[in-house]
Amino acid sequence: MNTQTDSSFSVVHPIDHLMRADRLPHILCAGCGIGTVIHSYVHAINEFGVDEDRHVCVSGIGCSGRAAGYVNVDSYHTTHGRALPFALGIAVYNPELTVTVISGDGDLMAIGGNHFIHAARRNANLNVICINNFNYGMTGGQVGPTTPVGAKGTTAPQGSVEHPFNLPHLAKAAGASFVARWTVLHVRQFTDAVLRAMNKKGFCFIEVLAPCPTSFGRRNNLGEGLDEVEMYRQRCRIENGAQDLEPLDIDIVDHEQTITVGNFVDIERAAFLA
């Protein structure tokens, strides 16, 4: 007999009312960080305190794009790369809604990269959570726009030779009002950043590093999800308000390199038709 009391087993989580709980467990792999991001996001909605009926979630395509399918708000799972202009249409037409885009690094930064810089340039009133797992996970681990140099993917078996985007630097340069980078280990800081984004008018961008043990970790000696999160714990350095974002590249291959996280940018700038 184990030491559990009957009350220790449950079928309902206290935040289930903000989830489409009838769809759980979700399709994401064991150790995948996307579930944690979704969880932190609904936690932020809960804390946000406004009517969740007035909050909208938009996703693109890919593993991260499935986020919209699990949250119990008006949610739209759109086409690959087009979550941002879709969300812009909602936010501009009805400025009373808060709109959050949750999608992956490939969706937002490769196929949707043009929309990203222009939504930031306009300072569209959107919260954008970019789940960065350094690869295209849904299609089996191809390299993408954030894959660090030297990291392996099925389409770069010898290691990627392309320079990746440094997303906070890109977002700041394009004109975002709020820019942060956290990992799924930093759930409290990440949730707090999402809350700040929800309470701020304008284009708010949060990159969140998340393990993809199945497609990325496996090919890059990062072990299980737990091992990758432990790597974040050892290598991350918090530098809130960091001014110079240009040096904040992420080097996965060199384990001596630090990964800088924090809330970097928080400026006031007129939001677009908000």
Partner: protein, 393 residues
Amino acid sequence: MAKTAAKIVPPQPVSRVVTGTHFMLGDHACAEGAMAAGLDFFGGYPITPSTEVAEHLATRLPAVGGKYVQMEDELGSIAAIIGASVAGARSFTATSGPGFSLMMENIGLAAMMEIPIVIVDVMRASPSTGLPTMVGQADILQARWGSHGDYGVVAYCPSSPQECFELTIDAFNAADRYRVPVFILMDEVVGHMAERVVIPDADKIPHVSRKRPQTKPGVEPFLPYAPDKDLVPPMAHAGEGYKVHMTGLTHDERGYPHLTADTHNQLINRLIDKVRLNAPDIIDYEERHVDDAETVVIAYGCTARSARAAVDYARSDGLKCGLLRPKTIWPFPATRIERLINKGSVQRFIVPEVNLGQLRREIERITQLPVVGLNHAGGEMPTPKAILEVIKS
């Protein structure tokens, strides 16, 4: 030097419906049609020969409280108007062939999610950059089959600025009525032609509303994809509390992904049938002297203007000739043509087009009678004389 007198700037019209008689560009008439139809949101990207639609709305729409956004590209335009539409807007974009091609993927999304949107494609000579400032009619099949997969659409084809106004209103009503992407296939000649446009009183503008949920949000369950008898499900908008989920994935009545062959087959057949079974209510055409006609010219857009003149000349020469002008290209008025054939007098069809036979193929599909094309790849439209020569041949 004498001061020049201050220019008197006439006040901008701020009403949605500018009732009256105007001398108006086809592109502007289309924009005014959208205004009269209750346009809320326009997202577009400049492209010849449709830019005048966008330019006109950039002034008109914000003046009545609508939202005008110039997007970064046509991929963004189409996504933004679908987004605005899920939030409840009557939304619209204007483009031409190259931009229309870029929109194709999300036209499939609008069809799959059943989001009402209206797109005007002012056709120019194509493919590729082609002749940007010169006429074409070669997007007829792109409009029907351009996105991947099977789905239903509605496409109108105006022949005059007056019709640009009227059919744009019809387009918005059809989009909301059937929850489908609706196209207005104008061509460069009609778009850049100025003619008399009569705009009626605001209360004479036909308006069909979206079907909306009958249940209270959060109290009773609402299935966003449970269709009524007409195969169209009621639509809940973002922010109303229904907490809908919409996806481009194959989905069940709850809107949840349901990735099975059976669900897919059922869903796609409904999307097709939604237009197919309601086609009698959607289809619109104009006929001229077809009752006893032995030769029937089928023409649309600018080409129909030459064809009408050619048919009138032929009649005055005693030839039994008529004109059938589809105002809706999709759904195609096949039943009407079949009835004409069954009457027995028709011996052949002539189909002049500024493409190499796109609509002719549709007519060949439904008849064994000779179907003669008069085609030009683009850049100029057939003259009445050229069509008359084919009638007389």
